[in-house]
């Protein structure tokens, strides 16, 4: 009995030690990644290839494709709030009326695959210019109507010129399988950080975890 207790205590201590070492390494790596991060580093999708829509994976948390039920919830809107001077709520046509960009970029999945699409949307930095975040707001939480899915980001990544609130994919309105009516899309973060079915952008003074990061994937998830 004593031996078994000793062994299990040792195993637990070792595991706890590993855990601490790994989370120390994750924090150290986040510092390295933040140090490497540049707003001038742009993703370039090689060639002219675009992944055909059926071959483009479509992940979501809910059991079925999340659909905005306008009959129940009224028209879809995007709320931009938190530590900002001028909170803002936009409907889809107001969002689409803002100056937009279209970019053909890679999607880097944590699993190791990449896909290419052409995304149309509004730069998050342009939306930030409208709501005017306060200087303490160093994090941004992207929330959705997909079973409470959300992911929070560091402000610099959110302000990267390739970080969009996208409502168009390959020249069409963004469909339900890929996060419609609007979603976050940026090549500077791994796919799981890019919130689909977006409803709220909240500027925060602290990080607020995220659906996948709370399950043990890296919170930073930078590319």
């Amino acid at each position: 009995m004593r031996r078994r207790e000793f062994l299990s205590a040792t195993t637990l201590a070792l595991l706890a030690g590993c855990d601490r070492t790994l989370s120390f390494a994750e924090h150290a790596n986040e510092k390295v990644e933040r140090g490497l991060f540049r707003h001038t580093s742009m993703d370039v999708a090689r060639g002219r290839f675009v992944t055909p829509l059926p071959a483009y994976p479509s992940y979501f948390i809910a059991d079925t494709v999340p659909m905005w039920d306008a009959a129940k919830r009224g028209p879809w809107t995007l709320e931009i709030s938190g530590m900002v001077a001028k909170p803002l709520t936009l409907n889809l046509s107001q969002l689409a009326a803002l100056p937009s960009v279209t970019q053909r970029v890679n999607h880097y999945c944590v699993e190791g695959w990449t896909a290419v699409a052409s995304w149309t949307g509004v730069r998050l930095s342009a939306l930030a210019a409208l709501v005017q975040p306060r200087p303490e707001a160093q994090y941004v939480d992207f929330q959705s109507f997909d079973d409470g899915y959300h992911e929070s980001w560091d402000l610099p990544s959110a302000m990267h010129p390739q970080t969009l609130v996208a409502y168009g994919m390959d020249g069409h309105w963004l469909g339900a399988p890929h996060g419609g009516p609007a979603r976050v899309f940026s090549p500077v973060k791994l796919g799981y950080k890019n919130t689909k079915y977006l409803t709220k952008i909240v500027f925060l003074p602290e990080r607020n975890g995220g659906y996948w990061s709370d399950q043990g994937y890296e919170w930073y998830g930078g590319v």
Binding site: T21, L22, S23, F24, A25, E26, A28, N29, E33, L36, F37, R38, S41, M42, D43, V44, R46, F49, V50, T51, P52, A55, Y56, P57, N106, Y108, C109, V110, E111, G112, W113, T114, A115, V116, P187, V188, Q215, G216, Y217, E218, G222, V223
Partner: protein, 241 residues
């Protein structure tokens, strides 16, 4: 003195740290690979990997799940890189790189070793610390390490270090070269371990204590894999007496 100091303590320590670190890096890397055991961009095909879609057997992987394996991989990479730098720095400062650097005649000596292993010639060719095949293997390993570090950075940060990713032909190819370099390194390690146990098991203590009995060397025993494994004749008694 019947034994010589064959491996400096720095070499011995970095060797065993590398054993642990490489094992964890390969195991966790294969677990990460299993999340998408293919190379093609979505919607495209890839020319050069015949086993696409077939995961690596679980018992060869480490880290349990994708997120766990990534944590191990991104932690252990620093230890292994540091370990490699200490080893290479020591080789440079201590002059031992000369035992591994290729020289004129190495090719001829390597052919002679192969001929001996294939029973074409009867006697083990003369050698220095390592035979020509060992030299080739031990010289190649650090270079594979360099390729692994660079391709690893290229697939870790394909946007922030996009120029590096481009050097390897883009993300898909960089990931492929990372996998190929790993496979070659594993092949060399497997070959190394096989040869240690079947040709010169007497060298195992030398990687722990550093001491090696030259009279037991494969050259002295005319040892091929699994041939002349029996202990060498020790005219003046046991070496460790």
């Amino acid at each position: 003195m019947t034994t010589v100091l064959r491996h400096h303590w720095v070499v011995r320590v970095t060797h065993w740290v590398a054993v642990v670190a490489i094992t964890i890096m390969v195991g966790s890397g294969l677990r990460i690979f299993n999340a998408y055991p293919a190379f093609a961009r979505r919607g495209q095909s890839f020319c050069c990997y015949p086993f696409a879609g077939k995961p690596i057997p679980n018992w060869l992987t480490f880290g349990g799940w994708l997120g766990g394996a990534r944590h191990w991989h991104f932690a252990m990479m620093w230890l292994l890189a540091l370990d490699g730098l200490v080893y290479l720095g020591f080789l440079y400062l201590h002059g031992e790189w000369r035992d591994l650097a290729p020289r004129k005649g190495d090719l001829r000596d390597a052919v002679a070793m192969v001929r001996f292993y294939l029973f074409v010639t009867k006697h083990h060719p003369r050698q220095g610390k390592h035979n020509a095949l060992q030299k080739l293997a031990y010289f190649t390993m650090p270079w594979l390490g360099v390729v692994l570090v660079l391709t690893g950075l290229a697939i870790w940060k394909p946007v922030e270090l996009g120029w590096l990713t481009s050097v390897f032909g883009g993300y898909v190819w960089a990931r492929y070269w990372h996998f190929v370099a790993m496979s070659l390194l594993v092949a060399l390690v497997v070959g190394h371990v096989f040869m240690v146990f079947t040709v010169d098991p007497y060298s195992i203590p030398s990687m722990i204590t550093g001491r090696y009995d030259e009279r037991c060397s494969p050259e002295a025993r005319d040892a091929r894999p699994l041939y002349h494994l029996a202990p060498c004749a020790r005219e003046d008694g046991p070496a460790d007496a």
